[in-house]
């Protein structure tokens, strides 16, 4: 178990990177706490796999270093790093039994038979696979195989971190949530540092204590699921997390007022020196409400989608789409033509990044 320090880390696949666009992973400096569950979230090509491979040791970063509990492991090969990994496609040793699969990492490291037996049985218990210990691994279902992969990491007591590379890709949809819950429970039980790479926000938000959102090689935000929801540090986080994502509207901000297409909106904080064309306000559909006339931005409703627990209203505002969520059961009148925002939930962005306002 270890705290992971990514010190001034950056990586480029090119030998002589000339600009920021040459970097698959732009410079980061983070400390990941021992025993926490982290999720690396982002669309494909955002650099999350690069980061994972740097941590696992498959890839040596071109700049900076990786420290496990203060010890520099940047140049150590995978097998010396005390990490475990669960891959996208289940990797089990087909010809071995479940028991032998779980015992394999310990046998390779020369542990005595008694210790091995004890550990394997403990872990099998934890994974709820005691009954299948003597089965051949080949015939098992994909989710059972993924549990074995995880188990092979858990049996080793000195594992610094367990890495997951989109582990639910090949799992049947109806088993996904079950396995996810089991993972979460196992994390609570074992207190191992876990790092989980995914492009699925639901997986990331339900699994992780902290979610690291990546975009174009940059870590745009690292925070709890709640922080990501309430205060996205970057408009990308706003878009990417939540369904539908945050509404982002270009605005002219002065003091505690935002001017949008001739309409003025009150903000909860005061902002200074917000000139330029790259100022936007962001508000989640959950913090908007519809009115007939009165305050707010003038809109026309294009369509209403009923997704079960709530309805999503897709509205047009000067050629731009604004999404509004409406609780199930609340009627939507045809005369609705205004949307207003909860001032405490409106964030202001400049150049994509959030701007902190002052209490007005």
């Amino acid at each position: 178990m270890a705290e992971i320090h990514l010190k001034n880390l950056a990586h480029s696949y090119l030998p002589h990177p000339s600009g920021p666009s040459d970097y698959a992973l732009k410079k980061i400096d983070h400390v990941w706490e021992d025993g926490k569950a982290y999720a690396l979230l982002g669309p494909s090509g955002c650099g999350k796999s690069t980061l994972l491979n740097i941590i696992s040791g498959l890839l040596t970063p071109s700049e900076g270093s990786v420290l496990f509990d203060g010890e520099d492991v940047t140049n150590l090969p995978t097998e010396k790093r005390h990490i475990a990994q669960v891959f996208q496609f289940p990797v089990v040793y087909d010809t071995m039994t479940v028991y032998d699969n779980l015992a394999f990492p310990l046998k390779n490291r020369g542990h005595d038979a008694k210790t091995i037996d004890q550990r394997v049985r403990d872990i099998a218990e934890m994974l709820e696979m005691t009954g299948e210990l003597n089965k051949k691994a080949r015939g098992l279902t994909a989710d059972a195989k993924q549990k074995i992969s995880l188990g092979r990491g858990l049996v080793r007591q000195n594992v610094s971190a367990i890495l997951f590379d989109e582990p639910l890709t090949v799992i049947d949809p109806h088993l996904k949530w079950m396995l996810r819950m089991q993972l979460k429970a196992l994390h609570k039980k074992t207190d191992r540092t876990m790092i989980y790479v995914t492009h699925d926000q639901t997986e990331a938000l339900t699994f992780a204590d902290k979610v690291v959102v990546m975009y174009e090689g940059d870590v745009v935000q690292m925070g709890t699921p709640q922080e990501l929801f309430e205060r996205p540090q970057h408009t990308f986080v706003g878009y990417f997390i939540g369904s539908p994502g945050m509404n982002v509207i270009p605005a002219h901000v002065e003091g505690n007022q935002a001017h949008i297409e001739g309409t003025t909106i009150q903000l909860n904080y005061g902002y200074k020196g917000m000139s330029g064309s790259n100022v936007e306000i962001g508000v989640r559909p959950e913090f908007t409400s519809l009115h007939e006339g009165g305050e707010g931005l003038p809109i026309t409703i294009k369509r209403v989608e009923d997704v079960g627990r709530y309805k999503i209203v897709r509205a047009d505002f000067f050629g731009r789409e604004i999404n509004i969520t409406v609780p199930e059961g609340q009627p939507i009148s045809e005369r609705v033509n205004r949307v207003s925002f909860d001032p405490t939930r409106v964030n202001v962005y400049q150049g994509g990044w959030i701007v902190d306002g002052e209490a007005a």
Binding site: Y13, G45, S49, T50, L58
Partner: protein
């Protein structure tokens, strides 16, 4: 994804640290073992008989192409080539033509006796040519096909057709059935669909199949020699002619041997990418 490049990088560093010299050594040793006998044949083919018999030299002292000139100027020599290539090409065309629809049937449908039929076809691959030599001779003689190219081509179908069906069936099973259905909905007739859409999709499979067809027909001699006497005699059989009253003409024998290897080498060179792809699909 970026995964492939990552592992590549890692492999290279790992190999250069400990592996590449060992693997390289093993491969070099193995390839030298494969090439030495071939080199020796080439070496001999470029020597005069006097040099071959009188001195032991690792490379020709007096480089001569006389052995090759002998072969190319004597019709009884070079007609052997034409004969061999004719029946090999005929066999490849026949085998592929009949195997394609059959493989399609096996890969797409179940029908009465399909499993038994498939197994029966494969058993023909297990039949020793020696067993068939005499009956073939009698059969083709009785229908007047003895000493014709088509006789050898048909005889070689015995082991090539089952193999083709097996290889092609593997490739065809890899093509999703939805493609067939879409084509029928788009109004394609079966023959048109098969030629215009399906065959291009399994082009590499056909390439691999044709390669094996060529290979097994080219290298087989027992049946080819039994079924021919003069007009369709294969080059490999002509080689025995070098044993004359004055002993063996080693130089010409070696040159003829080298020339029989060249068509195979050319075929490998042209289909090497298909072969790699075919091997990657795990079917041979």
């Amino acid at each position: 994804m970026s995964g492939a490049t990552l592992t590549h990088k890692n492999n290279v560093s790992l190999l250069s640290r400990l592996g590449i010299s060992k693997s390289g050594l093993v491969m070099t040793a193995y390839l030298v073992f494969l090439m030495l006998p071939l080199y020796w044949l080439l070496n001999m083919s470029l020597k005069t008989n006097e040099e071959i018999l009188s001195t032991f030299t690792l490379w020709p002292d007096n480089l001569t192409f006389q052995n090759y000139i002998t072969i190319f100027t004597d019709p009884s020599w070079y007609s052997g080539y034409i004969n061999s290539i004719t029946y090999v090409v005929l066999n490849t065309i026949i085998s592929i033509t009949v195997a394609l629809p059959a493989a399609y049937a096996f890969s797409r449908y179940r029908f009465l006796g399909d499993q038994h039929l498939f197994f029966w076809l494969l058993t023909n691959r297990m039949a020793p040519p020696a067993v068939f030599a005499l009956p073939f001779f009698q059969l083709y003689s009785s229908v007047g096909l003895f000493d014709t190219h088509i006789a050898v081509a048909l005889a070689h179908c015995l082991f090539n057709v089952p193999l083709m069906v097996w290889i092609l069936e593997g490739f065809m099973s890899g093509v999703p059935k939805e493609i067939d259905e879409t084509a029928y909905i788009d109004g394609y007739s079966f023959p048109k669909f098969f030629v215009k859409i399906f065959m291009p999709l399994i082009a590499s499979g056909i390439g691999v199949a044709a390669f094996f067809c060529f290979m097994f027909s080219w290298v087989e001699l027992l049946l080819a020699r039994t079924l021919t006497s003069v007009d369709a005699k294969p080059i490999a059989a002509t080689m025995t002619r070098t044993v004359g009253a004055a002993g063996i003409d080693w130089g010409v024998l070696a040159a003829a041997g080298i020339l029989t290897i060249i068509p195979g080498a050319l075929v490998i060179w042209f289909v090497r990418n298909y072969i790699a792809k075919g091997f990657a699909l795990g079917r041979v």
